[in-house]
């Protein structure tokens, strides 16, 4: 299945990148531990994103199950020394460093209890991380859709007619400023270049900025580049975002190569390959994809 294959692909990518970066780390005089930390952080972040189920997650779960079993066995065995263990488990619940100290003093049985605690808290953190992520994108979607539709579109109508309508811009811009930075950040490419794309046509932009939603901005760009062009950009972007990028730009996106794109009247067909797609929070990889859509 495509999702399983994608997690396999991701795991392979991580292993290969780490492998091939070893020399680069060595050349920069960075030690192996940093490279391993990079791999572990990368894995943890990927697990947190919730795009798939990875083998290291399963390993951790298995370890957790084993630890719990060991913990249960240990607690049964150490029933005789009950007073000592209950005291230490209570401590490890309060503070990790304290737990660590106590483990050294008491011994093996509390050691398992301690690791059990840390893994369970870690996985708890992971799930809350993803759920807040979804919340954010949902919020994003709503604000992106609802607000710009009403506010900036009226400003756009005023602008071409009024000529130097700096004052009429003032209102909507002021309101937009609050949200401006958020959207710029998520878009990646600098907003300054978007303005240039709109007015001057495209000149040697890279793929990422080429794929930005700058084309529609040209209608506005002609009018607005004279006055406060850099101030107008957030508005342009916002307008376009309301149309297209109304949520996280990397959500529900497919990154791939095209073999052929064909159009007959309003019917578009495309043959795509070597792609990674994010659909509804899960990632899928594919070798080939065919698309059929009507404009």
């Amino acid at each position: 299945m495509s999702n399983v294959e994608c997690t396999q692909l991701y795991e392979r990518i991580i292993e290969d990148v780490i492998q091939e970066s070893r020399q680069d780390f060595d050349d920069s005089g960075i030690d192996e531990q940093t490279l391993m930390d990079l791999r572990n952080t990368w894995r943890a972040k990927l697990s947190k994103s919730g795009v798939g189920k990875f083998t290291w997650d399963q390993q951790r779960e298995e370890e957790e199950v084993q630890e719990k079993a060991a913990e249960a066995a240990a607690s049964a065995a150490s029933a005789a020394a009950a007073t000592a263990t209950t005291a230490t488990t209570a401590n490890s619940g309060v503070g990790i460093t304290q737990g660590g100290v106590n483990i050294g003093a008491v011994g093996g049985t509390t050691g398992t209890a301690y690791t059990g605690m840390t893994t369970s808290t870690f996985s708890g953190g992971a799930t809350t991380g993803t759920s807040t992520g979804y919340m954010n994108s949902a919020e994003f979607g709503e604000t992106g859709l609802a607000l710009p539709k009403s506010e900036p579109s009226t400003a756009n109508i005023i602008l071409p007619g009024g000529g130097s309508a700096q004052d009429s811009l003032g209102g909507p811009l002021g309101e937009l400023e609050g949200r401006g930075p958020k959207l710029e950040q998520s878009d990646g490419a600098a907003d300054g270049s978007d303005g240039l794309d709109g007015t001057n046509g495209t000149s040697g932009t890279d793929q990422s900025s080429g794929s930005d939603d700058s084309d529609l901005g040209s209608d506005l760009g002609i009018d607005s580049d004279e006055i406060n062009s850099d101030l107008d950009d957030p508005e342009d972007e916002d307008d376009i975002n309301s149309d297209e990028d109304n949520d996280d730009p990397e959500a529900n996106i497919m990154l791939c190569l095209y073999d052929r794109v064909q159009r007959v009247r309003n019917r578009w067909k495309c043959n795509l390959k070597d792609g990674i797609a994010n659909i509804d929070g899960r990632d899928y990889a594919f070798q080939k994809a065919t698309g059929d859509s009507e404009w």
């Binding site: 990422s208 529900n252 994010n278 059929d292 859509s293």
Partner: protein, 111 residues
């Protein structure tokens, strides 16, 4: 690296953004230099392109209403609405809105 250069746009995938995050953490903690991070990302571009080509075998198809199409700098961008995605195990997913960024396969490897 004198060989063929690779597309950088796969960095926008989840595996790419999480790598960038992880590298960022190391840079902020002053454990690595940004120049090294750039090299790692270049390694990522190469590894991802090669692995996608070599190990992935799945296929999928989709149907929907083409909302926006754009062809700029040899990159196709489509925004498709009310999409039905069908995987090769006959599983289907419906999505309200879906964006495709596609680079030219012919130029792959020479960018």
């Amino acid at each position: 690296m004198n060989g063929p250069s690779y597309y950088e746009f796969y960095r926008r995938s989840t595996v790419g953004t999480t790598l960038a995050d992880a590298l960022d953490t190391l840079i902020v903690d002053q454990r690595i230099q940004p120049q090294l991070a750039m090299k790692i990302l270049a390694n990522f571009d190469r590894v991802t392109s090669d692995n996608l080509r070599d190990i992935v075998k799945s296929k999928l198809s989709f149907k929907g209403h083409l909302h926006t199409y754009r062809f700029c700098d040899d990159v196709w961008t489509f925004v498709i609405k009310d999409v039905n995605v069908k995987f090769d195990d006959n599983e289907t997913i419906n999505v309200d809105r879906f964006k495709i960024v596609a680079c030219n396969s012919k130029k792959s490897g020479e960018n």
